[in-house]
Assembly symmetry: C2
Homo-oligomer: 426 residues x 2
């Protein structure tokens, strides 16, 4: 793959998400040659994808060129490559750009949508995992409104305006809230001929509450916010099928041309490195790792981030699949790899719970923080502050930051653009 | 097409470019019902497309949702539609969304690339007329650099890095300059493993000078700037063919995987409304119009902007195809249509030459203004000021303006993103 030979040992990192990117940064000027592989030439700030999908932020605000991050890093190589297979015996990564040998391999491939084996739902619903997914959803929502304007059938018009979101985790809740604000603030001016009261935003989940991973107070209050914004939350509902027009559930049929799938994720395992056998983990396609991030049973291979699951008595399902966990793991693994080169012992990962946050709308957020829980305006300010802080570190420019605040607060961004129309399956 | 009936006469405008958009704005609160049709839901600020293509500006900075422009306009309707045919006898526009009757029709469909009938060049070269074209070019340029990194063949690497631009009008000159600055300022840090001196940027034209429509001083000085920036300008060169690898010209063969076509434009005529018969105009596919923008020989049909050509003794080829001409024509036609509703006589179009500007690089621009001509830093400041002024009117927000200045000056925008890889024909 045209990577220069080096006296140093070579670490190959697969994936430039939060875990892989943090690891790469923390290995600057280490005793290793580092090669980072990603199928894209940019990092995506996934927690804000829902803002791009709802035309609140421009895609460039939440993506960042990986090469720009690593400019001037010595003995560091980025390659935009698709990993096809890993041969752990010979320590070779096979990619669409050729072979690459490694001394240490780090799998940081993240997660994908989990459709629970329902291929029809997969074919007709909109996932929310990549910037392309978010742009497709933005196009589809706007195309549907354009189509709703010109149809003579009231039934068809409602189907085009309706949006159903499946999965009431953070992505589903934040998306539902953002759509409700779009409906209230922006769409009536853009589409004065349409009767907005006919547009229904529904959030479905099989569980009996929203944000099930958060505290009871957070669940209750976010449900309250969603209802206040006009989102119809339906719990205990399981989607059975979708044909692009009707969603069939255990509680009946819903007409909608847009179904957004945020009902669960699966790790992205790499061909050639088998998953572990622990039940819980096999279900989510995550690699079982020990407290030093070593993939169980395979030499010199580590896994961090969403694709890895560090199971123990306290954590039967591993750590939550969050950006903050991925970043912490990247930091720890870099420390351990540096210790390895110094022939010092590994230190075990100590997860620091930084809490979780979700925002439903302006002044409407919920926060479960290590010291305290809060909901409402304070939580919203915390959410804003945390995300702006993360984004400014990531974007590193004042102007982008201001642009972002302005865009986020006013929705006056002018990004309601159908740049590439989405080709719907008919 | 679901446009409410009205007592007022209906004006249908085809095209939301500078001409159509200006006309629509100036018809606010007129005695007409106005329907604006465009195939996109956004306006594109075409003079800055080259900045998007060279990863200097994000696409959202130069596009603007048409619905946002016309929010709260009474009796105004926008439809995202593709016009298929016009029946001038029954005064009906046929579109993919159905039929639409008009009392007055305005054709403001702009221009397309002119490949002079060479379909192979059309298939393999990159046009520069839409935001999608610009994004495709951005992707292709970056993909080529990624590929150049991993090839073992020096010949192939040079072919991937080389860029050839055909057509030394404003688009070609500005693009060549922006690419040269990208090569000098950004690419060496992003691709430290590549020998940038192997990248050749060539600008070809059949004429004997660059910017032939501008003054002799502007032509000479811009040629000088281009050469200073390392662009190889080759004049008197005609492209005969291109197969995606080699450009065949009357002066030999050039190896390059990227050929950008900015060699000429043709009007976008509308099916059902024949072009005139004047030679000069037939060549450029533009409608012959009289001094009131009436398409010759057809009742109640007007044409403005690039698709229209107002030929007279002084202007054998019509007005130049520039944004400033299109805007002025939109203003005049709105005035005449208002006079029509008041049963007053039309006023003839008086073109005010606002001069022309082209920028090659930082501090390197040329300006032919009504009172004086200048080149260099002053011209560059004028160029900046004029474009920022136009863009701020268009974007209408201070933050975007600052972002834009920052982006433009520093190139530190982080938009070197391959969001949708370009699928090259092989």
């Amino acid at each position: 793959m045209n990577i220069p030979a080096s006296d140093k040992k070579r670490i190959v990192i697969i994936g430039g998400g939060f875990a892989g990117l943090t690891l790469g940064k923390k290995l600057r000027k280490s005793d290793y040659q580092v090669v980072l592989l990603d199928r894209n030439n940019f990092h995506t700030f996934q927690p804000l994808l829902y803002q791009v999908a709802t035309a609140g932020l421009e895609p460039d605000s939440i993506t960042y060129p990986i090469r720009k991050v690593f400019q001037k890093y010595p003995d560091f190589y980025f390659r935009m490559a698709e990993v096809q297979h890993v041969n752990t015996t010979d320590r070779i990564v096979n990619t669409n750009l050729g072979e690459l040998e490694y001394d240490y391999l780090v799998i940081a491939t993240g997660a994908q949508s989990n459709f629970f084996g329902n291929s029809q739902v997969e074919d007709y619903s909109m996932p929310m995992k990549s910037i392309r997914d978010a742009l497709d959803l933005r196009s589809l929502l706007l195309q549907n409104f354009e189509d709703a304007l010109v149809t003579d059938s009231i039934e068809e018009r409602e189907k085009l305006m309706n949006v159903v979101i499946v999965g009431a985790g953070p992505t589903g809740v934040e998306l539902a809230g953002a759509l409700a604000e779009l409906k209230a603030r922006v769409l009536p001016s853009d589409y004065p001929d349409l009767d907005m009261s006919r547009m229904k935003i529904r959030l479905l989940d099989g569980a009996d509450k929203v944000l099930p991973a958060m505290s009871g107070a957070a669940s209750e209050e976010s449900l309250h916010y969603l209802e206040k914004l006009g989102v119809e939350v339906q719990l205990g509902v399981f989607v059975e099928n979708y044909d692009g027009h009707y969603i069939h559930t255990n509680q009946g049929k819903i007409a909608a041309r847009t179904l957004i799938w945020s009902a669960g994720v699966l790790g992205n395992p790499v061909e050639g490195i088998p998953l572990g056998t622990v039940d819980q983990q096999a279900k989510a396609n995550r690699y079982e790792i020990d407290e030093y991030f070593r993939v169980k049973g395979i030499e010199n291979v580590f896994a961090i981030g969403d694709v890895a699951s560090m199971v123990n008595e306290d954590l039967p399902a591993g750590h939550p699949m969050l950006a903050s966990v991925a970043c912490q793991q990247g930091v720890y693994l870099a420390r351990n790899l540096r210790r390895l080169s110094e022939e010092r012992e590994f230190v075990p990962f100590k997860y620091q719970d930084k809490g979780s946050l979700a925002t439903v709308g302006t002044n409407k957020a919920v926060a479960d923080l290590p010291g305290f829980k809060t909901q409402g305006m304070l939580a919203w300010y915390i959410w804003m502050f945390v995300h702006l802080f993360l984004l400014i570190g990531f974007r590193n420019r004042l102007v982008a930051f201001m642009n972002w605040v302005w865009a986020y607060i006013t929705y006056d961004t002018g990004v309601r653009l159908i740049i590439r129309p989405f080709q719907r399956r008919e």
